[in-house]
Subunit: 151 residues, 2 copies
């Protein structure tokens, strides 16, 4: 249950693009702004492009930009583009797993886990992220001090 470096990088780069607005931004600038290895980042941006989240142009004056407005792209989309489906169990989606015996209701638990995850990650857009005005659901969750302590 962890977020990979790749997903983290992808969201950070996307945030940087969201903040940049219209003009194309060079990969190198993104890499510097977020301190991400350039060559690795290029692969990530390529995946984002294939997913239809960013566009790109080559050559001088080239670079990357968002394919759609920043308030229309959620973090979930970005993460899925590079990590595939969120919240799989044993690499299959929870709704397709059949549990036996005393574990039959475990499926519902994993479904709930996925739903709660989605609730935050599908709610926050890139625009929210750069502005810092996160949706109420998220504010509420981060509000409690013990959301901030490890366990």
């Amino acid at each position: 249950m962890r977020v990979s470096a790749k997903a983290d990088y992808a969201v950070r780069a996307a945030a940087e693009l969201a903040a940049a607005g219209e003009g194309p931004v060079k990969g190198e600038r993104l890499a510097e702004a977020q301190d991400i290895p350039l060559q690795f980042l290029e692969h990530i941006l390529l995946e984002l492009k294939h997913a239809g989240i960013v566009r790109a142009r080559r050559g001088a004056k080239g670079g990357y930009w968002l394919a759609r407005p920043a308030d229309d792209i959620t973090i979930a989309e970005v993460v899925r583009a590079v990590e595939g489906p969120i919240a799989h169990v044993q690499s299959s989606p929870p709704e397709s797993i059949e549990y036996r015996g005393n574990a039959v209701h475990l499926q519902e638990v994993w479904i709930a886990v996925r739903a709660s995850l989605r609730q935050v990650v599908e709610q926050v857009t890139l625009a929210d992220l750069v502005s810092g005005e996160l949706p109420p659901v998220v504010e509420h969750l981060t509000g409690s001090p013990d959301a901030w302590v490890a366990r």
Copy 2:
């Protein structure tokens, strides 16, 4: 963001122990009941033992049982025992990561992700799991039909 086979197995075995009540249950019986490779399961049970979740006795009439009442053990505990901390980013806890530039608020998002995850996984006990009477939070999340569709 996936649940490993190990964590899934651990919870299933724990559910089986919760249902069994007092008497020690052989590893073999657990393995059969939940269709888990025996030798792998033994390693898992050992970790659960070290975490203080189960107890065990060897020899004839030996087996495993829960160290505490089933309504006092959450799924979170079981998962943590075998997978370590839930919801890390790049293998460090979200509260210890410093983001720069336009990604500064990403930390709050990951914190919220973790909190929402905890909300379900720390709420459901083994007793809930075997009885099928899941806490309201979970029922609410699984209630919506689109919690059950993949994306």
